[in-house]
Structures are given as C-alpha cells and as structure tokens.
Symmetry: C4
Subunit: 207 residues, 4 copies
C-alpha cells in the first residue's frame, strides 16, 4: 500500500532531524543521550531518530524512515509513537522535537496536578507561529508520565484535541514535545520554550 | 531630498550591525530570531537589520539602509521606528542594540509599575560612557510593552526627554534597548547591562 | 605475580580516561585541576590519572597503569584508592569518574547527616544502566569527607555493600564518584547525575 | 637606578598575562572590558595590562613593563597600584588577576560590613596553595570600594598584613583580586574562587 520515500526525500528530512538534534545537543537539552527528533517526509512517512542513537552526535545512519500509521519500524525508539500520532493528527506539522530542558522538567512536575502551565504576557510568545501580540495567554498542556507510550500517545491526542492550538506540551518530570511547520520552525519554537519556561521558573522562585 | 549613502559607508555600518548581532547571538541574547541592531551611517540614514532576519547568523544581505526621518523602508522590521527615533533625538548615538536577555525581561516586568529600575553602587556602572564612579544611582526607564511601535517610540522619547542621560531603557516583559557612540561602545554597554541586571536579579531573589 | 598489561590494552584504556576527562573539563566539572578518572584494563590493572595532572587538558603521559590490589604506584594520586577498591569490589565496573559539580558539592554537604540523597520520579533516572521506569526511588549514598583516602575507601565499600545497586555516591562538600561498564556509560551517568542533581537543587530551593 | 627587563623576560611575563586574560575572558569574568592582569618580571618590574585594553582579546602590545616601586607608567591603568603594592609586599607572588565574577561582586557587597567572607569546609579549598585539608576556615578580606586606588592600595596592604595568609581579597560591589606563584597558579586560584564563591552564594540563598 505504502510506497517508500525516495532517497532524496529521506535525505532532506534526515538533514532536518540532524540539524534539530545538533542544535539541542549544543544547548545541553538532550542530556545522557535522551531526546528524539523527527521530520515529516510526506503524508505516509517521517524521518525519526532510531533507538539508542546519541542525539548530540547524530548522523544519517541514526535516522529511520518510519510509517506514520503503519506497523512499528524494527529500529524505532520507544517514544516514536509520540511523534507519529502528531503527524497523523495534524497535517500542518512538519517537524517535531522532544527535549529534556531543566525548566521543562521542573515545571512539568510542579504543575502536573493542574494539567497545564500558563505562559502569559511575554513578548517572546510572538516567536510561536500564529501569535501576534504579547497580550496572549497560552495554556501548555501537561500530561502525567507513562512508560507505555502507545497509551500516553492516545491520552496526549485526546488532550490536544480538547485544547486550543499550541506549539507543544509537557510530560510531567520528563520533558517537552514541540513542533513546527519545518525543522527551522521547530528550532525557533524550542528556543522560545526554553526562554519562556526559564522565565516562568524564575518568576515562581521569586514569588 | 535625501541622497543615498555610499556603498562604502553602508558596508562599514553593516559590519557594525553584524558584529553586534553575532556577539548577542553567541551569548543567547536574541532567542528565537528576536532582537534587532542598527548603526548610524550619517545624519540621514542608519543601517538596520531587515525584518525576518536570523540575528545570530546575520549577513550584509539582512541589513537595510533606512532613512532616519523618511518613509518606512519596505523591508524594515516592525521595531525599526524604535531605532530611528533615537538617532533623530540624540546626535551622539552611533549604534543601537535591542536584545532579549533573561534578566532584562524579568526585571522589566516586575518593576513596570514603578516605571524605572535603579542600578546603584556597582563598580561596573563605570563601563557606561560618562560614568566615573561606582557612587552613582542610574534610573533605567521602563515603558509598558505595545505592539504599536510608532506609539511606543513616541512614549519612549517623551520618557527619555524627561530623564537624565541613560545608556538604555527597558520594555516590560520584552527586553532591552541599549546604545553607544559606536558598535563597540554598544557591545560594551550590552555586556555591562547583562552583568548589572543579573546582579540585581540575584539581589532581589535574596531579599 | 602480576603481568603488566600490553601497551595496546593500556592505550585503549587511557583513551577512555582522556575522553572522560575532556568531557568533564569542557563542562567545568573538574575546577582548579580537581577530579580524577580511570578505566579498567583487566582484572589486575586500571588506567588512572596520575597525581598533579590537569584533567581538562589530559594526555596519555598523565595516565598510569595502577595495580588494583597491589602496592601503590609512585605517581598515583591521593584519591587512587577510591577508584581501585571499586574495581576490586564490583567486576561489572569498567570505568570511574570523580567530578566536582556544583550541585553534587552543595547537596552532598546539605544532606550529609541523612547519609543519602533520594532521586525519585524523574524520567532521566532511566539514563542509569538497569533502570527501566521513572517510578524509581534511588538513594545515593553520602559519606563524610576524609583526607585519609584508605580509611574513606573502606567506609565507602561498607556503605555500598549495605545499599542496593547504585551508579555512584557523594562525598560531603567534596563531589561525586560515578561509574559504568565503559567510559561511554560513565560519561552518560555523569551527565545524568548533573541533570538530576541540578533538578533536585532547584526543587529544594523552591520548597 | 633600575635597569629595564630584557625583551625575553618581558615577553615571557606578557605571555602569562595574556594567558590569564584569555582564560578569564572565555569564562566571562572580565565583562565590558573590566579586569586587569599582571606577572612579575623580576624584583623591580611587572608586566601589567595597559589602560583601555580589551582583556578578553589581549595582545602583547596591550601589556606594559611597570616599575613595582617607581613612578607611574604613562599607560598604566588606574588599578595598576593595586597590583604593584602586592609585588612589593610579598616576594612569593608571581602573578595577579583582577576579575569581576558575579558571585564575587554580589558577596563582597552583601558582606562588606563584616569585612570578610568565610570559606569553610569545602574540599576545593585544597586548590589554594598551602591548604592541605577541607577542615580549613579561610577568611577572605573585604575592603570598601574607592576610586582613589592609591588610598585603596594602602588600606588593602594594611588589612592583608593583619590577616593570615590568603590567596586573594574582595572589593565590595566591585570584584576579586587573586594571586599565585605563577600565572598557572593564579588561573587555578581564579577557578577555585569562582567555584567556592558560587557555592557560598547558593548556600546563602538557600538559608
């Protein structure tokens, strides 16, 4: 049913995966080989980091072409379902990054019971695609952590379906998923989240 | 009426813009493609970062020659007016940087209602041109954030006209504008603000 | 009795020592020439940083082949016994790093009286070999500091024998010892400890 | 009376000055062109950074040979007396660094009224020449800031004469002076102070 993507299409997507991974690695956002990254190839496939890869030193050999709605790829990481369901749910998503920044890990745990973290009034909210003014209150969903990633993926899609449009979500005590139309947009969104969550962490500690 | 600057004069000013942008990019002061930079070319023109440029990886093609008091340049960013009115108001200004450091963003928001942040007694105040002793109290103006940058520019010039001489001002929840006689001076002032605002943030959190 | 390791086996182990030392040096985890590193060569020998070496700029000449259970090597550092007893006690250990990260130094001192620091519920606990879920509570032993490293080594082995399996321990006001099956695993464990201890430090300060 | 140092002796000392300055610049310890550095050439001369030099990008042309007890060098910086009196007072000093680290600036201001900051019980105290155990309490003198550096130098020598041996002192709201037998020792002492003062700052904020 599915025809495999061309090697050119795969290589272009893998380059985006590597760009995101190196950027995150240089900023220490994927500590201890954590994190994973993907870029949509077409409506059926996405390039995704393979299980066990060192994300800070990624090469094309560490990237696989995974079917978005097909059977699991033998080298898919445990967290691949969390990427693939997003591509299936939202055709505007072109790239996804999962990173473990310290503020994301801390705030997601502290606010887990509330189910969301509000980002409100910061100019840098405008770095997220579609936001035009700092007079915006953005509720970033937080879901509880779960080692069963198929169950977790289903819960997340349910939560995201019920919320307004957001550029990412938090998993409690775990980290951040963030996406964009392209790898470049996802990188900008990673950096915006890092800044905004660090700012929120400072504000909380000062209260 | 206005004669365009020579290509040599533009190139020299653009080099200053790029130097400021790269310096700020390396220090993570322009997160998520935020920030903008300018250098005065002469009494009529300034070299300014164009809209949409990635400030951390700026090239000369990302810099435009904007008329200080003329009609808007088609590639001018939304924040260009905040640069241009400063050149029109103060002939001693040769370069301007707008950056989003974390302490500038946090302190500008916390102290917005007071309208100013006092920097007082630090030796590093002497890094600002014209300050000769640590026994100085410098009140940095804070203005509320506003997406209408023409209205914001008018408010800022009014506030700066009423204050003593300062090397910069804060926009609440947004960031810092800082200037100097040259790009080199503006870089030194950026670094001094970063140090002093980080110090103030620590002092507040310790109180 | 003991036959010296081959130069190939020594060179391979020394390369692992240097990789750990440079990684830690780049992250500022061995301030002021502190810290030391080792890799097991075989059941009788380990490659260990010599006394006085600058760990951030280590070369093979700064690494010695020390007998695990034999007499002290003339160029062994004062902390070499803390490495060697670990290799003697646990045949699964292939590499050991001793680093002075700020959170390790601070938390080890604050919690010295309790004798352990609990790490609980973080996804990044899974970076430690053998841990499969964030629903894990890991008690990292803390021992008091002691300039008599033979006495300290004996106390540590007693404490570790009484605890469950752990990837490292803390010395109060001093730093962290961390190990793994290989230099690569020890590097991943260093990075996981840095993240987790930084997270715990933030949580304590927020309480 | 005084014979000028040979060009070889000057070049060797200037290389030490540049090594300290670059090290400090890379760590952001000389913000906004602050800080200064020196290395003793012989009993009569020291190589010192000239006034106005950018310490993070220092070259030999930015270093002067200043007489330790002679008339002021025309290119000496305002803070040169603080270096030269130390060489005159203590023949064991071979190199001096003046840096503006954030913890040094903050703690020196907070504890100015007490006149000293105690560093106590940390293993890293052993990085200072002559300290053999963490069971050491080191009182680092703090003097008030003063733009009259001749008067300040006299006050500092009086305070240091009355205290036990120390590797440095603090100027309130200003920064740190630190020394060693060589540029290498002074670099190690800078790094030890940075670690220890950062640790103390965390401990204070947690109290």
């Amino acid at each position: 049913m599915t025809s495999a993507p061309s090697s050119e299409a795969f290589a272009a997507a893998a380059a985006g995966v590597i760009a995101m991974a190196r950027y995150a690695g240089d900023r220490h956002w994927v500590p201890a080989t954590s994190g994973n990254f993907s870029v949509r190839i077409d409506e059926r496939f996405a390039a995704v980091t393979a299980t066990g890869a060192d994300k800070a030193n990624l090469t094309e050999a560490d990237v696989i072409a995974a079917e978005i709605s097909g059977p699991k790829h033998p080298r898919a990481s445990a967290e691949a379902p969390l990427h693939l369901v997003r591509y299936a749910s939202d055709p505007s998503i072109g790239a996804i990054a999962h990173i473990h920044t310290l503020p994301a890990t801390l705030l997601s745990r502290r606010h887990a019971a509330k189910g969301a973290l509000r980002l409100d009034g910061w100019e840098l909210l405008k770095a997220f695609t579609g936001i035009k003014t700092h007079e915006t209150a953005l509720d970033i969903p937080i879901v509880p952590n779960d080692q069963d990633t198929d169950r977790l993926a289903a819960l997340i899609e349910e939560r995201l379906g019920a919320s307004g449009p957001v550029p990412g979500y938090l998993i409690a005590g775990h980290g951040l998923y963030v996406w964009g139309a392209s790898a470049k947009d996802a990188i900008r969104h990673m950096e915006a989240f890092d800044f905004l969550l660090t700012a929120e962490l400072h504000e909380e500690n000062a209260r």
